[in-house]
């Protein structure tokens, strides 16, 4: 992630850290103290930001007994924020870095891309390349160890992807119809033979 660019875009480093934490893990609700520690920003600054963000609908405030937790808004209009932050997540960058050289298209698919994953969920990756699935998955294992979650890549050449689209294969149609975190290339280019 280009930290300087994103800090400028979101109005400062603190705001960027808080929004990234919220929208990279949209189903995670955090109490203020834990949130400040995880984002690495000042408690009072975060409190001020959250107050404003709750008021405009950027963040949900969830009362929990005597305490309160905060979570990203589930407003569908804000979904692009989830994709934007996940696109520049460290895990995503690490996966992108070990893709086979012949990759023409790659994306994270499944629950991680949909934002419905739990901390233990596998990360599913589609890789369109003239490469071995075994070597690709072996290369992903250090990334999986670093981030503490399993990563599974389905690897296929472009001609096979196109033939599965023609056959209306359920896996490929699911990929086309569901949110994806793009790692390389454009999926629309795959239909061009």
């Amino acid at each position: 992630m280009n930290q300087a660019l994103f800090s400028e875009l979101f109005g400062g480093e603190g705001r960027l850290k808080a929004l990234r934490l919220l929208y990279s893990h949209p189903h995670q609700a955090l109490p203020l103290r834990e949130f400040a520690a995880a984002a690495g920003i000042d408690h009072a600054q975060l409190h001020r930001l959250l107050k404003r963000w709750v008021a405009v609908g950027l963040v949900q405030r969830l009362p929990r007994g005597r305490s309160v937790a905060y979570r990203a808004s589930d407003d569908p209009a804000l979904r692009p924020l989830i994709l934007l932050f996940k696109q520049h997540d460290e895990l995503v960058d690490d996966i992108r870095a070990v893709l086979p050289a012949s990759t023409t298209y790659a994306a994270i698919i499944g629950s991680y891309a949909k934002g419905t994953e739990s901390a233990q969920s596998d990360v599913d990756v589609l890789v369109v390349a003239n490469a071995s699935e075994i070597k690709t998955n072996a290369a992903l294992k250090p990334v999986a160890r670093k981030h503490g979650r399993a990563i599974n890549a389905a690897v296929m050449p472009a001609h096979r992807f196109r033939s599965l689209v023609r056959e209306r294969d359920s896996f490929v149609l699911g990929v086309l119809d569901s949110p994806r975190i793009e790692l390389k290339g454009e999926i629309s280019d795959l239909s061009k033979s």
Partner: protein, 143 residues
């Protein structure tokens, strides 16, 4: 990641790894002969891709079982025994993490077939056979 020794695996996973009372040389030879036969099956281009992949994986597993038998241990059929067998083999053959990752990727490929993964690329078959051949060679040198 440090690969656990067979003694450690027997302590950590008693339902999966058992110490044998006696060392049986014939068992070791049978597993190795089985691994050699499976490597032939994997290399036979007349066989289908999934069959060749399965055979290549069996080379890895049989090599592991030969090594366990040689060390006076055996693996049970309880869930998780394949991963444990490969870990013990990695320890005995002093495999690097990168080599083990490739072996483990072959194991995972085999597991995915139960989810309907019938497509096998030529690259996958070649990599699985290379992995199997190298592992069997290391196992034979170790014995």
């Amino acid at each position: 990641m440090t690969f656990r020794s067979l003694e450690q695996l027997a302590r950590d996973e008693p339902s999966l790894v058992r110490r044998e009372r006696t060392f049986n040389k014939r068992t070791v030879q049978e597993w190795l002969a089985g691994a050699v036969a499976k490597l032939d099956d994997a290399q036979r281009s007349a066989n289908s891709g999934p069959t060749r992949m399965d055979a290549a994986y069996d080379v890895l597993l049989f090599s592991a079982l030969a090594l366990f038998a040689s060390g006076g241990f055996r693996i049970t059929s309880s869930p998780g025994h394949h991963a444990i067998a490969l870990e013990g083999m990695a320890h005995l053959l002093n495999l690097s993490q990168a080599v083990f990752d490739e072996i483990d990727a072959v194991r995972e490929w085999r597991n995915r077939k139960y989810a309907g993964a019938f497509f096998v690329s030529d690259e996958d078959v070649k990599d699985a056979i290379d992995c199997a051949r190298q592992t069997l060679s290391r196992t034979e040198l170790e014995k």
